[in-house]
């Protein structure tokens, strides 16, 4: 079973059941949603914010918004894309707030890719240098294991665009990695 399906499927009760129960104030139902998604949400948030405390705050904020907006959820593309869309927005909000705080600015220029480092380390460095949209698609698809249909639903882009951005991400990464290891 693909990772995305494994994480997206909640065994005992369906996503719709859990959301309905959450709307009625059943926090144990909401905890099931948390248990199924929080780990991956932290990873996604960390990727965007590069700080564990900020990532945890963004995940916390996302769950509060999810709880408050549970009545407005559209199940057309499942629960997971909706949850991660809210999370990304929380991360963008946090990122914008950080930009406004002079004492803790976001890193401006990503460092160059060091030579002779393990591939994972080189990829991490190279990711910081590619277009943010390509980077996000790469992260969601290749790192977090979402399918293109899910990436498309999370980012509200056509599935074909998700595939195209992934290709562009990999092409850019390949170029940077080849330069770094030339």
């Amino acid at each position: 079973m693909p990772l995305a399906m494994a994480a997206g499927r909640l065994t005992a009760r369906t996503d719709a059941d859990l959301i309905q129960a959450s709307k009625r104030g059943d926090l144990s139902a909401f905890e099931e949603i948390y248990a199924a998604h929080a780990g991956r949400m932290k990873s996604v948030a960390f990727h965007l914010l590069a700080d564990r405390a900020d990532a945890e705050d963004a995940v916390q904020e996302a769950f509060l918004k999810i709880y408050r907006a549970a009545g407005a959820i559209q199940f057309d593309s499942g629960l997971a894309p909706w949850i991660y869309r809210i999370l990304l927005n929380c991360c963008y909000d946090t990122g914008r707030k950080r930009k406004r705080q002079a004492e803790s600015p976001l890193p401006a220029d990503p460092p160059a890719i060091p030579d002779n480092v393990p591939l994972q380390v080189a990829i991490r460095h190279a990711l910081a240098r590619i277009h943010p949209q390509y980077r996000t698609v790469f992260w969601l698809f290749e790192v977090e294991g979402f399918r293109h249909s899910e990436v498309a639903a999370i980012l509200e882009i056509p599935e074909g665009t998700s595939k195209k951005w992934l290709f562009e991400a990999k092409r850019e990464l390949k170029r940077l990695l080849m330069e770094g290891r030339a």
Binding site: G25, L27, F30, E31, Y34, A38, G39, R40, K42, S43, F46, H47, R52, A55, E56, V59, Q60, F63, L64, K65, Y67, R68, A69, G71, A72, R85, I86, L88, N89, Y92, D93, L119, Q120, I123, R124, L127, P132, F138, W139, E142, V143, E144, G145, L155, E156, I157, T161, F167, K170, R171, L173, K174, L177, M178
Partner: protein, 213 residues
Amino acid sequence: MTFDCTDLERALAVPELLPDAREHAKVCDACRRELWLWSEMSAAAPGLREEWETPDLWPRIRQTLAAHQKAAKPSGVAGRIGWRGDWRMLAGIAAVLAIAVSVFIMKYSRSAPVAPRDSDFLTEQTLKEVEQTEAAYRASIDKLTRLAQPKLNALENPTAIAAREKLLVLDAEIDSVRSTVSRNRFNAQLQAGLAVLYRDKQDTLKEILQSAQ
């Protein structure tokens, strides 16, 4: 097909060409290296995932939600107030609400202010004016929404995605507060909270329109 190095990029985009690319790579070091990197990137990527324990995160969320539930019983606005269960935040939001209700009533109703001795509740006359004003305000925001929505739907950048999500949450909250207000029409704090939400929505829509220009 005769495959040479210039075909590699196309082969990476079109999986059907990959067998030819692999065949070519057997005799071309540069292409072999690129093909290896292409597949290794995907193989190495899951290892980039960050995982760490946060035993206190769910208790924090649960505590905030429990406070939200408790506060939400009298009104949906209270949920916003119960955000982090922090008394300083509660005090701050209470102050904002107090200012907002004053501004809302003074700016839009053009009526005498609510009597200080009964500041938490609206009189019948003031309520009527507030409701009329709210209806007019809502109509103007709906108009703004009709202007902004096509622009917002056409955009795919992170700001637009954030704005769409924010509007979704705001609409849900507005519905919730309006539902509570309908059961407790004389509560000035609820009316003020509703005004704050409308203002937030109006500001968001204005930002969208400005960024689309």
